[in-house]
Symmetry: C2
């Protein structure tokens, strides 16, 4: 199993690939997901939203309207910045949710927020620049940013957000160019920064020139009524805030955005034009029509309540079926929880045993840029039915209870 899933190293080369290519870690998750195509497998490995919640009928109606009323415009080349009414909708929503004054010219539409990371890498990272990351961090960010050959440095995550002492000490040691964070229901850990942590992080970063990349794909998928202000609120000139429709509407549209000051957006737009001219124009028209004709808040409430139920089942199993020395995040939103197994355990070994029981998850070590913790693992609940969660979690708990450390140590 180890060998099979790890066998992603660079092949004998017939081509002179660029140096940057050597640095891109391939996605372990991608390999695991290939295994997940087996229908007998219960997969906690993916990061997929629940497709039964996609507003298919409503999007179909919007598509029909767009083709009928604006077909020639929607199918033509378009401005790199993105469809203005869509950018205005996003700006309005920040006003409505956080009372933030963001204008449409501070918003660039991207192919999911993943592309925003690529544009940020292109815009800011010279080889050897320091990029500060949460420890652990989003694998897609590690992959994307590593193409620009930065030096990564990590700061530990705690249950209420980043360790601020560690953050300050890293900033003092390194002239960090970027600090990448996911303050709401982080991937992979499910952790949300508390209000106090946000204030403290903003206070610390305000003393440095480090640019904050605040990735927020999960913020709307909250299981409580608490909402905390984005770091952008505290340091708008110093923060690039990323958002996405992948978790609230559908990822197959490939639409996200970045918010920043107009100078950064102007530059990012030139870079995006060079990269792919513009994001899907037809899908932007369809999405904008959908947002005009439907109540996004009530749609998101449906997602919140469905994921909360799935999460509750998973957390209940973790409490009742798992050994007490397995620690985990009591997620209050998003799509993941994060486990730390007791000393001496290896989640890659556990994966091997789980696979024999038709269960998969992602071993946590893939989410570390520097110093992996092999006892960790990520569990996704949004794309598994409650009954299947219950059954598979019981099995997984049993595997951990019967886990023999001596096998690993030997």
């Amino acid at each position: 199993m180890h060998r099979k899933l790890n066998n992603m190293n660079i092949q004998t080369e017939n081509h002179h690939f660029a140096n940057r290519v050597q640095n891109v870690p391939s996605s372990f998750i991608r390999e695991i997901l290939k295994v997940a195509s087996n229908p007998n497998i219960v997969s906690f490995a993916g990061g997929l939203p629940n497709p039964t919640l996609f507003p298919i009928k409503e999007l179909e109606e919007s598509a029909a309207r767009v083709f009928k009323e604006k077909g020639m415009l929607a199918l033509q080349y378009a401005a790199t910045e993105g469809f203005l009414p869509l950018r205005e909708f996003i700006a309005d929503r920040y006003k409505h949710r956080y009372n933030l004054d963001i204008s449409a010219n501070q918003i660039l539409i991207t192919n999911g927020s993943q592309q925003a990371l690529d544009l940020i890498g292109k815009l800011f990272i010279n080889e050897g620049d320091t990029v500060l990351l949460e420890r652990p961090s989003y694998l897609g960010a590690l992959q994307c940013l590593s193409m620009f050959q930065p030096r990564f440095a990590e700061v530990n995550l705690e249950p209420d957000g980043i360790n601020t002492q560690g953050l300050e000490s890293q900033l003092q040691q390194n002239l960090a160019k970027l600090f990448y964070c996911i303050p709401n229901f982080q991937n992979p850990t499910g952790i949300q920064y508390s209000l106090e942590k946000r204030e403290e992080v903003a206070r610390i970063l305000g003393n440095y020139e480090t640019l904050i990349i605040e990735d927020d794909p999960y913020g709307e998928i909250s299981f409580t009524d608490e909402t905390f202000p984005p770091l952008y609120t505290y340091l708008p000139e110093q923060t690039i805030l990323l958002g996405s429709f992948s978790k609230t509407i559908a990822p197959g549209l490939r639409l996200g955005w970045m918010v920043a000051n107009p100078e950064i957006i102007k530059r990012a737009t030139i870079i995006k034009q060079a990269s792919d001219l513009h994001s899907g124009n037809l899908t932007q028209y369809i999405l904008q029509d959908y947002l005009t004709h439907n109540n996004l808040d009530s749609h998101i409430r449906n997602i919140q309540s469905a994921y909360k139920k799935q999460c509750d089942v998973m957390l209940e199993c973790l409490k009742n079926e798992f050994p007490k020395d397995v620690s985990f995040t009591e997620s209050k939103g998003g799509m993941f929880t994060w486990l730390t197994l007791p000393e001496g355990f290896s989640s890659r070994d556990l994966l091997q045993k789980a696979l024999e029981n038709n269960i998969i998850f992602v071993p946590g070590d893939t989410f570390y840029a520097c110093k992996p913790d092999f006892r960790t693992l990520r569990l996704n609940y949004s794309n598994v039915e409650e009954k299947a969660i219950r059954k598979a979690m019981k099995k997984l708990g049993g595997l951990i209870k019967r886990y023999d450390i001596s096998e690993v140590l030997s």
Copy 2:
């Protein structure tokens, strides 16, 4: 006018942008197109397909079918490689058009062929690597590839394709990593390589390790029954062939592809995953459904005959209304013709006079990576009605006839 359109230099900087950003030329065309939003202006400046030919009704029907039958799949995250049936369609078409054996695992779906250029830059270009270009070349390629800080070298284009002596001499002087070319109805010149040129170019390049980037967005838009084999046919291991649905179906879908050997595609797929996970999944499903339920050949024949008429009118005007010492491409396909004004003329000056007459075009100097020729200009015919072409071309011819070189020289 000069000042206004040129004023795209980098602003006073509040941010520490990466070095690569300094190298990206901003798009002069983009600035001109902003002027083009004035409805009184006849624009030969754009590179837009004619939207009256978009298969809107058929795409609407396909969208409805996709939402009804495959909504959950089409709206979910998907494989980075692209939708397999779409890749199979593309492979089949190469078989059908050129008797080429290309398998689906040699095809990666991209956001238009523009994104393929970005992936190629990421995969192959180290700072300082030599990239050989046709002189002049596609501005979008100059913009995209310049992000990777190569050294550009140019080889002159002749009416039947690249100057092969110049190509050989450049290859001997430089260890060129890439040779970028558009053998069919090139943007900006409209030139198509002859069969002899193709054979000669392939013979020459076969002696070097230089990778050929063969961009072919216009090959299907031919006004004659002649088709010439892609360079890929001669050197499949050494060529990356790019294609696009932007000119045959609609650019607003943002769907193109790259063809290469499986090793390159595998690497490009990892790089694309890091860049934006995958291209629009919904649009891939809609397009694939369209291609299954409609006759692409007969749709393309409509485009060919419409553009041929528009081109014929433009060429007729060039013959009858322009001074004899203005040379131009007698385009046999694609969307552009290319003019070279007599010695002493400046197309930027001509643009200023043209603008006063509500006519715009793109001065040719923007299409040169190294040594610009300021007497050249690009004219697009695909997006202007025949009557408007006739009227505006007559005016433009008159402006050239009355053009006073001494004003420029003074």
